[in-house]
């Protein structure tokens, strides 16, 4: 456990003193904040318009709900932009150790591969948690003036965290496979993007039974219920198992250095 904490603190310290984490945070907060502000102001304008009898006639008995109009838009983009920033947090975790040769030094210490892996993984997860804490200003602003549904906000953050848990683990796995940081960031980005598109656009032209089968692999399909305010066993299981498999494969790759090349 002590080894785990040593590695965890080392990584957190690295994140705190590295410009990469700050750049990632700033870009993510700006993009998510911009779309949130746009959605919130559009909702406000629509609320004003709907007071007019002419618009009321157009919208009929349909109610304007701030949770659906603003909170769900916020979690939708917050999940999407993770695809772009998470690979930047994981790309160097193991790849850089290999490139710099410090991995040999690290593994010469009495420390298990799993401790190294989990220390780095939970450090990256902590950074994402801090990032989500910063984004919570957005739903807090909605709560200050409106009546959002707390359950949907809770489900949305759980979904974001589980999505990050899976994506970070996959990024760590790719980082364990290569010493090239560009590959360690581009490959997870490509795979995450593909998993995201599976639920939205790629499958719409496919026959229904293939679409139903591939939906089970889609990140969007397992993230959307959280955004809408539902926590399902299947969706939690998908994200946890994606994280588990990625971490397990990363551990196998790390362990393979002991026997690779032996005759």
């Amino acid at each position: 456990m002590r080894n785990f904490w040593t590695i965890y603190k080392r990584e957190i310290k690295y994140y705190a003193t590295s410009p990469v984490a700050y750049v990632v945070f700033i870009i993510y907060l700006f993009l998510v904040g911009m779309i949130f502000a746009r959605a919130f102001m559009q909702f406000s304008d629509l609320s004003a318009q709907i007071q007019h009898p002419m618009f009321r006639q157009y919208y009929g008995q349909q109610n304007l709900n701030i949770t659906e109009g603003v909170i769900q838009a916020f979690f939708g983009v917050a999940g999407f932009f993770l695809i772009f920033v998470l690979p930047l947090l994981t790309m160097r975790l193991l790849a850089e150790e290999k490139r710099m040769g410090t991995s040999e030094l690290l593994f010469s210490y009495p420390v298990r591969d799993s401790q190294v892996l989990l220390g780095k993984y939970f450090a990256s997860l902590t950074m994402v948690f801090i990032l989500f804490l910063l984004t919570s200003v957005c739903p807090a602003m909605v709560a200050a003036w409106g009546r959002p549904e707390p359950g949907v906000i809770l489900a949305g953050y759980l979904g974001l965290f589980l999505l990050s848990a899976g994506f970070l683990a996959f990024g760590l796995f790719v980082s364990a496979c290569t010493e090239n940081q560009v590959i360690a960031s581009v490959v997870p980005f490509g795979v995450m993007f593909l998993l995201w598109l599976l639920g939205n656009y790629l499958l719409q032209d496919m026959p229904q039974n293939i679409r139903m089968f591939l939906y089970e692999f889609s990140a969007t399909e397992h993230y959307r219920p959280f955004v809408e305010g539902s926590i399902g066993l299947k969706d939690v299981a998908y994200n946890l198992m994606f994280a588990f498999i990625s971490l397990y494969l990363a551990l196998q790759v790390m362990g393979s250095r002991k026997w690779r090349g032996q005759q």
């Binding site: 700050y22 700033i26 609320s47 109610n63 304007l64 701030i66 949770t67 949907v152 090349g261 032996q262």
Partner: protein, 538 residues
């Protein structure tokens, strides 16, 4: 050359085997294409291994090969276990918690009942949604249809791009527009126009699976409010209720009992509605209603209190109610709540809530019902039939049954409760009663029970009073309970709450600048400080 060939042949073979295996999982059959994929994949894999036998043998004899093999086996086992666990989780698509305020993501109990009954009724429903693949309709439509399919395997759906498949128009035999959905069961087909909603879809399923329709007669000739108003904008009619009932496959018609030549109440009358009569029924009409009920009839009575001290109102049916265990009090409900104190509401408009465990009020426990001018009702013993009465709606504890009608009619008069003669709340204002049919012939005809519902306010279900989250589902539940399909009761309010919000200019500025500038700015400032300190103390 050999090593490269070995690698690519083996890799390509493995890929073909995987694609073939996945295709088999999807299509559940080995057709020519899948067979070819599996066969060619296996052949390439074997060819790769055979052509590079020496290389394979050399590698396999090394220590690293043995360890790699062990690691591979271990990985396959772990992946299989994880895959198995996920497959179990996939088998439970309904294991989820809906955290929205009004549970709008979940299917209504009525929908679930309808879908679960498909198996009992041995019916298969096919839903065809006509959209284009690139439209925004795809995700909401498929999300809703998947929820239905997850409840019942007797429901099949398909989403058809009607532009790419023009033959669908011939197959459906109807005009097809973007977003149109068709529900089919046996020879019956229902069409639903966009936007698709749970209510529309469930009602369409009910229409295609129900073999018989329910005929509802509204009496007329005693000053009842009309079914179709002269002025369409008027809220003082039952036009809204009629439309809601017709949505649920009921056939609604008017009936003047006194004007009937043969049967005062026709044989095809499934539910009789007496809605707010202003004058008494003639004795032969009362006798006809009594006879209809005795033979297992179903009826809804919407009655009013006598507000005019000189006019006792329509009381001719009160003895009939008493036979079924329901007494009408000679009083009117008065309630002094906060809205009344603020001058926003009349004290004659009590706010009621559901009570009792009748299926009629299932899913409506959080709804509020405003009944303008209501009469209190009581459950009483009756020696005529074996009855079971269940209260449906009750007023608050702040209400009472006012009997001083003269005071109520005086302009500006204040009323207060006379503790000796006036009952305090909660007062029942709607009661359901079920009585066993005594006649053996009627029983043999399948008329096993008489069911009546008395609501102490005829305005409760007028078009102006129908609310999507309270009175409308209550009315639909009452009619469903009175009909043959009482196992399909329980529509909860699914409309989203109105939480519109208008921001002022200052709030808009905060919404714009805090997330886009202040928050990233704070992180930037932290970065500058940390990097400066790091450089200084490094």
């Amino acid at each position: 050359m050999n090593r490269t060939l070995f690698f690519f042949l083996t890799l390509f073979g493995v890929v073909l085997l995987l694609v073939g295996g996945m295709s088999y999982v999807v299509f559940r059959e080995v057709n020519l294409a899948i067979g070819a994929l599996l066969g060619v994949g296996a052949a390439l894999l074997l060819a790769g291994l055979f052509l590079n036998y020496q290389e394979v043998s050399r590698v396999a004899r090394g220590r690293s090969a043995a360890k790699a093999f062990n690691a591979m086996i271990e990985t396959v086992i772990v992946l299989a276990i994880v895959g198995f666990l996920y497959a179990i989780a996939v088998q439970y698509p309904n294991a989820k918690t809906d955290l929205t305020k009004n549970k709008r993501l979940s299917l209504a109990p009525q929908t679930v009942n309808v879908l679960r009954n498909l198996d009992k009724q041995d019916k298969t429903v096919t839903i065809t949604a006509c959209i284009t693949a690139d439209s925004n309709f795809m995700i909401p439509v498929e999300t809703l249809l998947r929820k239905y399919r997850d409840v019942s395997s007797r429901l099949e759906y398909r989403i058809v791009d009607f532009v790419k498949n023009p033959a669908i128009r011939q197959e459906l035999g109807e005009r097809v527009d973007l977003g149109t959905t068709f529900v089919k069961c046996g020879g019956k087909q229902e069409r639903i126009e966009w936007p698709l909603s749970q209510e529309k879809l469930t009602n369409a399923i009910l229409k295609v699976i129900r073999e018989e329709t329910t005929k509802v007669y509204f009496t007329e000739g005693h000053g009842e409010l009309p079914l179709t108003p002269d002025d369409p904008q008027s809220g003082d009619s039952y036009a809204g209720l009629k439309a809601a009932l017709e949505d649920q496959t009921f056939i609604v018609a008017s009936l003047n009992i006194a004007a009937q030549e043969h049967d005062p109440i026709p044989e095809d009358c499934d539910i009789l509605v007496v809605a707010g009569p202003a004058s008494d029924f003639y004795p032969p009409e009362v006798e006809a209603i009594r006879k209809y009920l005795r033979r297992g009839g179903k009826a809804l009575f919407l009655i009013d209190p006598p507000l005019d001290v000189h006019d006792p109102g329509a009381k001719s049916l009160h003895p009939v109610f008493a036979e079924y265990g329901i007494a009408v009090e000679q009083a009117v409900v008065v309630e002094v709540n906060q809205l009344v104190q603020m001058g926003l509401q009349s004290p004659l408009q009590p706010i009621c809530k559901t009570t009792g465990d009748s299926p009629i009020v299932r899913g409506l426990s959080r709804a509020a019902f405003v009944l303008p001018v209501a009469v209190p009702l009581n459950s009483v013993n009756t020696a005529v039939y074996r009855v079971t009465t269940t209260p449906l709606l009750e007023t608050s504890e702040r209400s009472w049954g006012e009997k001083d009608f003269a005071a109520l009619s005086r302009r500006g008069a204040t009323v207060s409760r006379d503790e000796e003669s006036e009952r305090s709340g909660p007062l029942t204002v709607a009661i359901a009663s079920e009585a066993e049919v005594l006649d053996a012939t009627d029983k043999a005809d399948g008329r096993d029970a008489t069911r009546i519902v008395v609501v102490g306010d005829s305005d409760a279900f007028t078009t102006g009073s129908l609310r999507p989250d309270s009175t409308r589902p209550l009315a639909q539940n009452i009619f469903t309970w009175l009909s043959k399909y009482d196992d399909q009761i329980g529509i909860p309010p699914l409309a989203t709450e109105d939480s519109s919000l208008i921001l002022d200019q200052a709030q808009k500025a905060i919404v714009l600048w805090i997330p886009t500038a202040v928050l990233p700015g704070v992180v930037l400032l932290a970065a500058v400080i940390v990097l400066f300190l790091r450089r200084r103390y490094a």
